[in-house]
Amino acid sequence: MEAALFAIYALIVCGSAIAVVISQNIVRMAMFLVLSLGATAGLYFLLHADFVGATQLLIYVGGTVILLIFGVMLTASAPYASIQNSPGELLQGGFLAVAFFAVSVASVLAVDWSQLGQEVRLPQDSRMGHPAPVQGYETADAGNTSRPIGMALLGVRVDDIASEPVPEQTATPGETTGHPPVTPLSGYLLPFEIISVHLLVVLVGAAYLARAKRRPLSTERGLP
C-alpha cells in the first residue's frame, strides 16, 4: 500500500517536473508546478511529516502558485508569453542537466543507506554493548508531529522530553537511553523570531518594489 502510494506520487512529481522543463508556455509551466508541489506534499505525508505536508499545501500550493499565476497574468502579453531560445542553448542546458543528474544518482546509489537506518533504529538487545548513538525521535511512526514542531518553535523540545525516561511515568526498562540532557535552549525560538522579522521585511520590500509608479508626475511637481 505504501509502495503503491509512493509510486503514484513519485510518478506525478517526476512527470510534472519534467513537463515544467519541457513546456514552453508559461501558464502550463505554472499548472505543472502546482501538480508537482501537491504530489510532493503527498510524499511528505508518506514520510509521517504531517505538519510539513500541510504547510506545503497551504504555503506552496496555496500561496506561491497564486502569486506566480498573478505574475504570469500581469506580465504575459502576446509576443512575450513564450520566449524561444536557440538550440545551442537548449543543448548546453540539457547537457548540464544530464551530467548533474548522473553525478547525483551515482552518489546516491554509491552510499549504503541501510547502515544509516540500522544505526538509528537499533534493536533493543544490542544497545547494551556499545554506547548508544543519538536517537531519532521515536514517535516517527505515529506521525503526530504538529505539537512537537510547535513546541520546538517556542523553544521547548517535547520530543526529547517524551523519549526521556521520566521517573514518575514509569517508563519500560529498555525504552531509551543515552539522550543528551534536555535544555530549554535546544529549541528553535531564535530562528523562529528571525524568520518572522524576515517575512515582515520581505513583505514590506515586495510591496515597495511592486508599487505603482507616479514618478514623472512627482518630478514635474518637484522641479521649481
Binding site: 508537482s36 510524499l43 524561444q84 531560445n85 514542531i149 524576515h198
Partner: protein
C-alpha cells in the same frame, strides 16, 4: 531491522529528479518567471531530502523544522522575485532575462 517498504534511496532519487529539473529550468528558460519556477523546484527537492532524512536518519524533528524554514524562505523569495519581475516588466515591457543587462533604462 527493515526500514519499511520504500527505501530511502527512492526518496533521494525523486528529490534528485526535482533538483535536476529545477536546474535545467533555470539554465534553459529565458522567461524570468520560468527561472523563478526552476528555483521553486530546486528548493522543493532540497526540502524533500530534508524530510526523508528526518524520517530515516537520526535528524529527528530537526529535518522537518529545516524543511519548514525552507518552505517559508521560498515563499518570501518568490514574493520578492515576482516584485522584481513586475518592476522589470514595467520598465522594459518584457521579462526576457537576456535583456536585463542594465539596472534602469
Amino acid at each position: 531491522m527493515i526500514l519499511g517498504v520504500v527505501p530511502l534511496t527512492a526518496y533521494l532519487l525523486v528529490a534528485s529528479v526535482l533538483f535536476v529539473c529545477g536546474l535545467a529550468c533555470m539554465a534553459t528558460k529565458r522567461n524570468g518567471i520560468g527561472m523563478l519556477i526552476g528555483v521553486e523546484l530546486v528548493l522543493n527537492g532540497a526540502s524533500l531530502n530534508l524530510v526523508a532524512f528526518s524520517h530515516y536518519g537520526s535528524l529527528g524533528l530537526d529535518g522537518q523544522i529545516a524543511a519548514l524554514f525552507v518552505i517559508v524562505l521560498a515563499a518570501a523569495e518568490a514574493a520578492v522575485a515576482l516584485a522584481i519581475a513586475l518592476n522589470f516588466y514595467n520598465n522594459h515591457l518584457t521579462i526576457d532575462v537576456d535583456r536585463a543587462d542594465e539596472l534602469k533604462h
